[in-house]
């Protein structure tokens, strides 16, 4: 051992971590040490053989244990009761298999000495067993008589004392232990023999106290009766005492530490108190130390009053023990020692009294570190022949070690560990700090992420409520609009839809949202019907702030595909999986779990949108400008037109074979169109007839209908005449003509002329005519919806028209029924139906 340093000699590794609660190390008979780690086991460690000799298996976690004075019996307190184990049993079982591992001894209920619930601590005083337990309203100190003959296990109750619990909130942790200690009146006259001093077992249970202190604290009666006094420290901080053999004695409170009492001990405070302790020490969990001494005989005023000195040492205190002059305690991370003697030289009388009345903390020395970490349990210190103080300790990791303290020289506190050990412990500490730091940051991150997620989910919920709110269906704050445009890619023309998702809501669309667009042709050619008719496009996006918009583009149709009009159903799909799991969990959106879809608006792309304009002059001669640079395209257009012509059955292609007309009253138009172009010069309105036609065509081609705008804005300026030529998506050439028509209406009252505009659709392709007609009608329908309700005067004008139409309709009905009658060939039937259809489209009613 190095000079001036304390040495820790490891005795055993129990190899298990010690549970907080009641770790214990206690010397028993001979060289046996009882170790309890807070679990169900009690280890019997032989200090001689340096090995665990036996293991006692108890039915419940061990709370406390004590050894009888004759070192024959071990009493162990569990939750269910107190068990009594005879040492002879241990020695037998130990010797039988000395070579092998520790003997295991199962302690069954046969060993039960006292059946009591919740015993917190126990203490043996002669033949009396004391237990302390907490009931819901009081602390109960119960006395049992242990039977003299070793056969019987059961103990009889002698009596019990109770002390009311102060307030349930104060003590908080019920797990913390109570401390029990027995002190007795010391004999002053008789000088202590060295044999008595070394008897550790006796001193533990009958700690002799200086008579003056004893009488001051516990009264004359206890002193006269020579009664042992039980001191108990409660987790609520109270220090209580009970004179054991005094008739009518009660459990009384001596003092309160105001923090859980961890330790009570007695120490010789002065050099003169060789045999008996002149100072009681109580130590609280948070490091409050209380030294209780008798007032000095020298100072008259102090006489008759016990002197309570309080102080604080750095806590938290795990365990402690005391020898003649020093208090040793462990904070878990370090073992410290505190000198208790109030300087044997110098401070006397006056000075001492001043100090006692003045700063009490100053009279406590400062603790010095012994640099032993992890100690959770200590046994009473012993002193070997060389004068070294030896402590038996149990560390938090289950290591039993003997700590030898050097003989105290003149200078104290020079105890150091070897530098390598210091380095190791520093390294351990640093790595532990690193671990904790890392764990903390991970936890912090997780918490932050969760908070973020919650916020986002809140947004999602808001959006969902907004979109599922059935009350206002027409104008959703999140909606799509689109524009179409032809583009050419890989020598193939295709109609692209640029769809813009606009967020007018106050909420952000974030991770997890997907814009889903379903393209569905309203009608389609029979051969296309076999394929999957609807096409789904989904566009996941990351964030869309309020006021922002997202543009995506998708192909609607290729050139030559005539499956117009096409509806584009827009919806927002929220997927919880992609929201939580990020990108990699890209589950199919039709998966029911974790996904829900919120419909937005529906867009319609019709024939007009898909119309490609060509200049009317070049209709016959040149091919459309888009395809002029592409001979292959021309060829295909040519071929397809040929084919279409052949299919029509007639020999030559008829560029304007079919036509349909729509008539709109200029009054209706004027309202809308004037409103539209109110800002430009008023000259337009002067040259009304022509501009009406032009502006109607312009409007037809530019109007944003069904949320879809046409992409050919550049062509708009070309519309100067009332005739527009264009190419339908099925490559058929179409011609749109607008002209002004005056309708004379013969009326009884007055001749009235009504100006109307007629739009004529002509094409060689019947499909194109139908589609365009439908598209034009749709536009005008919206016009009608927008137009204010006018006087019905002009309705009269219609009457004759209506009559004619009615007549015509009758004829047409006749034709249809004829066509559908039996005996007609299918070719004939088709022709008739086509004709009727043509007639229906040709003689339109005026829309007003």
């Amino acid at each position: 051992m190095m000079e001036g340093r304390c040495a820790a000699e490891p005795w055993a590794e129990l190899g298990l971590s010690v549970k907080p609660g009641a770790p214990l190390v206690r010397r028993g008979a001979g060289t046996d040490v009882f170790i309890c780690t807070g679990s169900e086991e009690v280890y019997v460690f032989s200090a001689q053989e340096k090995r665990v000799r036996a293991v006692l298996q108890l039915p419940a976690p061990v709370r406390d244990l004590d050894v009888s004075h004759d070192k024959q019996l071990l009493f162990v307190a569990c939750r269910s009761g107190i068990y009594r184990v005879n040492f002879q049993l241990l020695s037998h079982s130990g010797s039988s298999d000395a070579g092998s591992g520790p003997a295991e001894l199962k302690i069954s209920s046969d060993f039960l000495a006292v059946a009591a619930d919740g015993v917190s601590s126990l203490l043996l005083v002669d033949s009396v067993l004391l237990t302390l337990c907490q009931t819901d309203r009081s602390w109960l100190l119960t006395l049992y008589k242990t039977p003299q003959q070793s056969q019987a296990n059961r103990c009889d109750v002698i009596g019990s004392f109770s002390l009311p619990v102060v307030s349930p909130s104060v003590q908080g942790h019920t797990e913390s232990k109570c401390v029990l200690l027995c002190v007795c009146l010391g004999e002053v006259t008789q000088p202590s023999s060295p044999a008595a001093a070394s008897d550790a077992g006796l001193s533990r249970c009958h700690l002799p106290l200086r008579p003056a202190l004893f009488k001051l604290l516990f009264g004359v009666e206890a002193a006269l009766a020579k009664s042992p006094v039980i001191l108990c420290g409660l987790p609520d901080g109270r220090l209580c005492y009970l004179p054991l053999r005094l008739p009518g004695s009660r459990l009384r409170v001596l003092q309160s530490l105001e923090q859980p009492v961890v330790f009570i001990g007695a120490s010789a405070a002065m050099e003169t108190d060789a045999g008996c302790a002149g100072c009681l020490v109580a130590l609280g969990k948070q490091g409050r130390v209380m030294l209780i001494k008798a007032g000095r005989a020298g100072s008259e005023r102090q006489r008759g009053i016990a002197d309570f000195t309080e102080g604080c040492v750095p806590g938290p205190v795990e365990c402690a023990c005391v020898d003649k002059s020093r208090l040793y305690y462990s904070t878990g991370s370090d073992l410290l020692t505190l000198g208790l003697s109030v300087g044997s030289t110098g401070r006397e009388g006056q000075e001492w009294a001043e100090e006692a009345s003045g700063s009490t903390a100053a009279s406590l020395n400062r603790p010095t570190s012994l640099n032993v970490s992890g100690v959770v349990a200590l046994d009473q210190p012993t002193c070997n022949d060389a004068g070294e103080v030896q402590l038996l300790s149990l560390s938090a990791r289950g290591r039993l070690q003997r700590i030898s303290l050097p003989v105290r020289g003149p200078e104290e506190g020079s105890n150091k560990l070897p530098s390598s050990a210091v380095g190791r412990s520093v390294g351990d500490l640093l790595s532990a700090i690193g671990d904790v730091c890392e764990r903390a940051s991970v936890l912090e991150k997780v918490i932050r992420w969760k908070n973020q997620t919650l916020k986002q989910l809140n947004q999602v919920l808001n959006v969902s409520f907004l979109l599922t709110d059935g009350a206002k269906t027409e104008e959703k704050p999140i909606r799509c609009c689109a524009s179409v445009g032809w583009s050419r890619l890989l020598q193939k023309d295709s109609l692209n839809l640029a769809c813009v998702l606009q967020n007018f809501s106050p909420y952000i669309l974030e991770r997890g949202w997907t814009l889903s667009l379903t393209v569905l042709p309203l009608s389609c050619s029979p051969q296309a019907a076999e394929e999957a008719r609807s096409v789904n496009y989904s566009f996941p996006f990351c964030s869309l702030c309020p006021g922002e918009s997202l543009e995506v583009s998708l192909p609607v149709a290729a050139a030559g595909d005539a499956s117009f009009p096409v509806t584009v159903a827009c919806s927002l799909v929220f997927s919880l999986c992609s929201f939580l799991g990020g990108e990699e969990a890209a589950t199919p959106p039709d998966l029911p779990g974790g996904c829900f879809s919120l419909p937005l608006n529906t867009l319609t792309v019709d024939w007009l949108h898909a119309l490609r304009l060509i200049s009317p002059t070049s209709t016959q001669k040149t091919l459309p400008p888009q395809s002029s640079s592409n001979p292959a395209g021309d060829l295909r257009a040519f071929l397809s037109s040929r084919r279409a012509g052949c299919r029509a059955g007639d020999g030559a292609p008829r560029p304007e074979g079919y036509s349909a007309r729509v008539r709109v009253s200029s009054e209706l138009l004027g309202h809308t169109l004037r409103g539209q172009r109110a800002d430009p010069d008023p000259k337009v309105s002067e040259s009304a007839p022509r501009s009406f036609c032009v502006s109607l065509l312009e409007w037809l081609l530019s109007e944003e209908c069904g949320g879809v705008r046409m992409g050919h804005k550049g062509d708009k300026t070309d519309i100067s005449s009332s005739v527009i030529c264009g190419r339908a998506p099925n490559d058929a050439t179409v011609k749109l003509t607008a002209k002004e028509v005056h309708l004379e209406e013969k009326s009884d009252v007055k001749e009235e002329s009504l100006v109307s505009v007629e739009v004529q659709v002509e094409s060689s392709s019947a499909a194109a005519v139908c589609g365009l007609h439908h598209a034009v009608l749709r536009r005008i329908q919206t016009l009608l919806l927008k137009a204010p309700v006018k006087a019905w005067s002009s309705n009269k004008v219609q009457i004759s028209g209506l009559r004619q139409t009615l007549q015509r309709a009758e004829i047409q009905q006749g034709q249809i029924s004829e066509a559908l009658s039996v005996g007609m060939s299918s070719g004939q039937m088709q022709r008739i139906l086509l004709r009727v259809y043509q007639q229906l489209r040709d003689g339109p009613l005026l829309m007003v």
Binding site: V220, L246, P247
Partner: protein
């Protein structure tokens, strides 16, 4: 359903069997507690299973039996609240079975309804037995009103119940497995409860000042354990004592003792009565027997059928009964016995008792608590403070002319107290409320005064001892020490002089001051006598005068004052002094004051006849 019923019945029967067996095996207190706890939890578990299904007539019998068993166990554990809850629940379920549960909360209405609903069916006796338990719980909680209400049902229960249960028993013998067993025969329970009710009611009425003799005498004829019968006799005796018929009361107490020799409370009541009658010898005798009774080891009482599970003490916890049954601890009894002996001229006996008492206090078996065997009533401790006890013992030893032993005791007291003595005790006038003084200060002063008086008394006794040994010098020293201690007491108010000759019982301080004054007088007188023996007559006369001033009725001081005057040849004064002394009658020792504060006549005595003859010689004044 039937198989389940059979299974449950078997479970109940096994539990009941176990419970009974454990009871037979272990009759010790805490072990019983342990097994009861397990039993009650087991029964409770079974009951929960049973009550999981709505009440059904098929297994109602089983269910009620299990409720009964569980409640018996709970009652044995004194968990009355839980037991009552179970009982109420069971009553509600019985009503539910009959389809007439009106959710009443009044227990008596509830039970009446429950009994009515099962009238005439096999369930009737089960409900009766549950009611019987409820009765016990009411009794234990000292709710006597519902018991009065149900008096008729109770008697009906006993009369009819006996027959029904007999039927049940014969029935049970026929087909044992199908009948749910009970841990305790309800008839035994009813018997036990009846006598307990009679006792508790008797005590209550006695407390209220009613005459309950007839009821108690009727109860004495009931079949019951001896201890309970003894209680009825005891109560009759108390009743008679209240009616001022002490002899008849004593007869009753004697009968109680004949019934149960361990009925310590009867003995105690007798001693009180003897004291009241002034029969000292009988009182001493009774105290002696009482003490030996209390010292008897607690034997297992001859357990009656019901007593094994349910101890009668469970039901006998009413307050007025408690005060009647309370008995002082053995040590207190021994002390009163010793004191009585010493005061009434049986000094040697008293000394023995005192020595026994001290030995008991020193022994390791003494633990400040004395468990009463039968009832858990509070044990009254009338034991004085230990120093006073020591001093009393010392005084007794002195009277028995064992000065050495007396000195040992006194030395011990002095050794213990001496370093705690205050330098000065300042007493406030207790009547003078104007002086604001903190409670603590007053308490401190009082405890200081008490310690001072103890120490002074110890010195006084030491002085007496030396005087007895005729070591006059030592005697003077110790009397002086005593006096020096006594003068440390100062009274703040000069007008308030503690010239109280008779103890003022109202306040402790009054007694203390009286003791102080007496000690002063006695110690001065003792010193005077010692001086006189040393022929230092001047000092002797001074001290004796002062002693007489402090304690005018001091007999030895008066006599010796006369003697010293005589020796100083002041014969006339001596004669006057003697005459004056003889005019006081020598007071016998009293219990109110500590023995050591009275004149023990232990010192050198003067023969009054000789003095009178001297007076005669002197001739008339």
């Amino acid at each position: 359903m039937m198989s389940l019923l059979a299974k449950w019945t078997r479970e109940n029967n096994e539990l009941a069997f176990n419970c009974k067996q454990q009871n037979d095996e272990l009759n010790r207190d805490h072990n019983n507690l342990f097994s009861h706890r397990r039993c009650s939890s087991d029964f409770h578990k079974l009951l929960r299973k049973l009550q999981g299904i709505p009440p059904h007539s098929d297994h109602a019998q089983l269910e009620l039996s299990v409720v009964y068993n569980a409640c018996v166990c709970l009652t044995a554990l004194s968990h009355f609240e839980e037991a009552e809850l179970l009982l109420t629940q069971a009553a509600h379920r019985v009503l539910e079975l009959a389809g007439e549960d009106r959710g009443t909360s009044d227990p008596s209405v509830l039970w009446r309804a429950a009994l009515k609903s099962v009238a005439g069916t096999a369930l009737h006796r089960h409900v009766l037995s549950l009611l019987c338990l409820q009765w016990g719980i009411w009794l234990a909680k000292s709710c006597l009103n519902p018991i009065k209400e149900f008096q008729e049902e109770m008697s009906l229960l006993e009369r009819q119940g006996g027959a029904v249960w007999d039927d049940c028993r014969t029935e049970a013998k026929e087909k044992i497995p199908n009948i749910p067993r009970l841990v305790l025969d309800p008839r035994r329970l009813a018997e036990l409860l009846k006598i307990c009710t009679a006792i508790v009611q008797g005590a209550e009425r006695l407390n209220e000042g009613w005459n309950t003799l007839s009821a108690l005498q009727a109860a004495a004829a009931l079949p019951a354990p001896r201890a309970l019968i003894a209680y009825t006799h005891l109560l009759s005796g108390s009743c008679l004592a209240h009616m001022n018929r002490p002899q008849m009361a004593l007869q009753c107490f004697r009968r109680a003792l004949e019934t149960d020799p361990r009925c310590a409370c009867a003995l105690y009541q007798s001693t009180l009565l003897y004291r009241q009658l002034g029969n000292v010898q009988a009182e001493i005798q009774a105290l002696r027997i009482l003490h030996s009774t209390l010292l008897l080891p607690p034997t297992t009482e001859p357990a009656p059928a019901a007593g094994r599970l349910l101890s009668p003490s469970l039901f006998l916890c009413s307050q007025s009964l408690g005060s009647l049954l309370s008995v002082p601890s053995a040590l207190s009894v021994l002390h009163s016995l010793a004191l009585k002996c010493v005061i009434h001229d049986r000094v040697s006996e008293g000394v023995e008792n005192y020595l026994d008492l001290l030995a008991a206090l020193r022994s390791e078996d003494q633990h400040g608590v004395t468990a009463n065997t039968l009832t858990a009533h509070a044990v009254v401790s009338t034991l004085p403070k230990l120093p006073r006890l020591y001093l009393e013992a010392a005084a007794a030893l002195l009277m028995a002319r064992r000065p050495a032993d007396c000195m040992a005791l006194c030395d011990e007291v002095i050794g213990t107290i001496l370093d705690l003595l205050p330098d000065k005790v300042l007493l406030e006038d207790p009547e003078d409320g104007s002086v604001a003084e903190s409670r603590e200060e007053r308490e401190e002063a009082e405890s200081g005064l008490v310690k001072l008086l103890w120490a002074a008394a110890a010195y006084l006794l030491l002085g007496h001892c030396y005087a007895q040994q005729e070591d006059w010098k030592q005697a003077v020293t110790h009397y002086t020490r005593c006096f020096n201690l006594l003068v440390k007491v100062h009274c703040k108010n000069n007008a308030f002089s503690p010239q109280v000759s008779a103890p003022d019982k109202e306040s402790n301080q009054g007694v203390d001051l009286c003791v102080l004054q007496r000690l002063k007088g006695i110690s001065l007188a003792g010193r005077g006598i010692s001086f006189a023996q040393m022929d230092r007559l001047r000092e002797a006369l001074r001290d004796l005068h002062l002693g007489l001033q402090a304690l005018p009725e001091g007999v030895s001081a008066g006599q010796w004052c006369g003697e010293v005057l005589w020796r100083l040849d002041r014969r006339r004064e001596a004669a006057a002094c003697w005459e004056k002394t003889w005019s006081h009658t020598c007071p016998p020792l009293a219990e109110a004051l500590p023995v050591y504060a009275q004149e023990l006549q232990s010192g050198p005595l003067l023969d009054p006849t000789e003095l009178r003859s001297r007076l005669k010689e002197l001739g008339p004044l």
